[in-house]
């Protein structure tokens, strides 16, 4: 009896599946190794063997000297990311709402935002630094870096909000408007609560993208460094498991933030859809 064709098709599936799992391992193994090596013993090097298991490199990190103290950069990056998230939320909701109004030149505006995603960070950062230099503006993490970071996070928030409004049923707004609510009241009381999951998503994008951003910070930050700059500086000076410890810490931070936000989104979506039915 011949092999059923569905079975042969499954065989192809298995081959592709093995490739997929192999690639997944390829993608994750370095991250997991990094995490593992960060717990190396005090005499451990930057690769195996680990020479014991300890929190030595995390302690080093905590009691660091001025030179490689990661705590101030961490604080700066967190503050910067939070500011970017808030700005992204406000501007992207405004911009997406504006797109619904189909103002003259809205497609040019759309491409302008796309350009923010497509333009390489190193060029934006470099060009902006030159511009600041010609204008005689001091570079600083909380002014110039902030401006550049938002130009990176804003388009992502904008696209997120566009997608949200695409699926938004404006008849709900029409219902409120016919019930006598003004446009502003309707937006505040009806629209905003319904798009809130998307708004949080846009903020999450803003936070995460700014927090991890390196090329745009490189030229625009001035003397007080952000976290990715500090990590890169440390890598240039010397490679120790300490850098694995800081990498693991920030990765865990990122993952916790994503986890919290997605579960919040999940809960919110469930509650709104429950109300709908």
């Amino acid at each position: 009896m011949r092999l059923g064709w569905k079975l042969r098709s499954n065989l192809v599936g298995w081959v592709l599946g093995i490739l997929t799992v192999a690639f997944l391992a390829y993608q994750w193994l370095p991250i997991l190794t990094l995490g593992l090596l960060s717990f190396a013993g005090p005499t451990g090097g930057t690769t195996f063997p680990m020479n014991g298991v300890s929190f030595h490199w995390y302690e080093e990190l905590w009691q660091a000297s001025v030179m490689n103290d990661f705590k101030p950069p961490l604080l700066r990056s967190s503050l910067l990311a939070a500011a970017c998230a808030l700005t992204t939320i406000v501007l992207s909701v405004m911009a997406a709402q504006a797109m619904r109004g189909k103002f003259r030149g809205n497609s040019a505006f759309f491409y302008l935002m796309l350009l923010g995603i497509m333009a390489p960070g190193i060029l934006v950062g470099f060009g902006f630094a030159i511009m600041m230099r010609l204008l005689g503006v001091e570079l600083s993490w909380n002014t110039t870096t902030f401006l550049v970071h938002v130009s990176w996070t804003l388009p992502f928030g904008f696209l997120t909000m566009l997608a949200v409004f695409n699926r938004f049923d404006s008849r709900i707004e029409e219902a409120a408007l016919t019930l006598g609510a003004s446009r502003i009241t309707t937006f505040r009381r009806i629209t905003l609560p319904l798009i809130l999951p998307g708004v949080i998503g846009a903020g999450l994008f803003g936070f995460s993208l700014s927090y991890d951003e390196y090329p745009r910070s490189m030229f625009t930050t001035g003397p007080d460094q952000t976290l990715p700059l500090a990590v890169m500086g440390q890598l240039d000076r010397q490679l120790t498991p300490e850098i694995y410890a800081i990498g693991t810490t920030t990765t865990v931070f990122s993952l916790i933030a994503v986890l919290l936000c997605t579960s919040a989104l999940w809960a919110m979506r469930r509650s709104t859809s429950y109300r709908k039915t």
């Binding site: 011949r2 059923g4 064709w5």
Partner: protein
């Protein structure tokens, strides 16, 4: 559509009476399960050459899965499929002598109408010039030659239906499988398309297997109607058979215009059974059923008469709740003593004799009732 006529190797009637009827399709107890759900449970079916077969049933009854097994898109877990006498159960779709029309037509959106229609011939590795010529012919006969260079996205529903049909017919398959082929069309188009398809089928002599949940389609098109429910065949036969002699309570209630009763046999004599139901006690022709057995029977709405001032062996008193008027038929809906609805059809444009709210005595002759002899549904 004349170009397709030459494929006809003779209508079923023209075949010599002595030879055993050639089967285009035979299903031998096919079974298909998805996890705990049984989609097709032992379906057997024989389709003669050039038959127009309609698989009729409610959604989820297994009719589409049966069709997909014939196409080879699903592999049955059990049973056999023979196309033109050849076992094809394990054959992939592209090695079967079939074509299929899908509910939403499944036209390839990136290809022109001409490319869509020619796809089947291209797969058969026919020479390019021959394909082009044949496509032109077929497009002309389906009256869509002007659409040749258009993409499917710009076509209307009726145009898409023609393209899909042309694409399926161009390879002259032994069997054409149609999965709710006019379900996606506007109501106003359906009747015309149905007639065209029936004529096309008769002219080409290709067997059609038409899946539908719409009994009007099934009864007006099919030479053979196969009623399915819960993964099994309930009854198969000519449309009149199924309309006049439903074999099960399911078929009787699924087909329009039947009044179904369930009850227990209490007496049997002279080929008649007395059946005790919640709506009363009635005489039904039959003799094989033992006293005390549970049976169901039905009587068609048009066989019921208004008995004001008369007397019948089977009769009941009921209140009329609504009267619907369809032009040639006046349908009265009564509430039966058992709480079910009773339908009574009066033909012709006579003035209404019974108005809503009125109580009437209705009756029917025992020979007009049909005792369901198939598996109890």
């Amino acid at each position: 559509m004349d170009t397709l006529a030459h494929t006809a190797t003779g209508s079923p009637a023209a075949m010599p009476a002595m030879a055993p009827p050639q089967l285009d399709l035979e299903l031998r107890g096919i079974r298909k399960r998805y996890g705990d759900f049984t989609a097709v449970d032992g379906v057997s079916l024989k389709i003669r050459k050039g038959q127009f077969v309609c698989l009729l049933g409610p959604s989820g009854c297994g009719k589409t899965t049966t069709l997909r097994c014939v196409a080879g898109l699903e592999e049955p877990d059990d049973g056999g499929i023979l196309i033109g006498g050849r076992e094809v159960t394990k054959d992939p779709p592209w090695e079967r002598d079939i074509a299929m029309m899908f509910q939403d037509f499944a036209l390839f959106p990136h290809m022109s109408v001409a490319k869509n229609v020619g796809f089947g011939l291209e797969m058969l590795k026919k020479p390019k010039a021959q394909i082009a010529e044949r496509v032109q012919q077929v497009l002309k006969s389906f009256e869509i030659a002007s659409l040749a260079d258009r993409k499917p996205g710009s076509l209307s529903g009726g145009q898409r239906q023609r393209v899909a049909l042309a694409r399926a017919m161009i390879t002259e398959p032994r069997i054409l499988l149609l999965d709710e082929p006019i379900g996606a069309l506007d109501y106003s188009l359906r009747e015309t398309v149905m007639l065209e398809l029936k004529l096309l089928q008769q002219r080409t002599g290709i067997s059609f297997i038409w899946v539908t949940h719409d009994q009007n389609e099934a009864f007006s098109l099919g030479d053979l109607v196969v009623v399915m429910n819960h993964a099994r065949i309930e009854q198969q036969g000519a449309p009149e058979d199924i309309l006049q002699r439903p074999a099960t309570a399911f078929v009787a209630s699924f087909v329009q215009g039947n009044n179904v009763f369930r009850g227990r046999v209490v007496q049997a004599a002279d080929g008649l059974l007395r059946v005790e139901t919640a709506a009363g006690s009635f005489l039904v022709p039959g003799s094989a059923q033992a006293i005390g057995s549970e049976v169901s029977f039905s009587v068609r709405a048009e066989n019921i008469t208004d008995l004001t001032g008369e007397h019948h062996l089977n009769q009941l008193t009921a209140r009329c709740t609504t009267v619907e008027y369809f032009g040639s038929v006046r349908r009265h809906i009564f509430e039966r003593p058992d709480g079910e609805l009773l339908k009574y059809d009066q033909f012709g444009a006579y003035a209404a004799r019974i108005a809503a709210g009125q109580v009437a005595v209705l009756g029917w002759r025992p020979q007009d009732t049909v005792l369901h002899t198939g598996a109890a549904g």
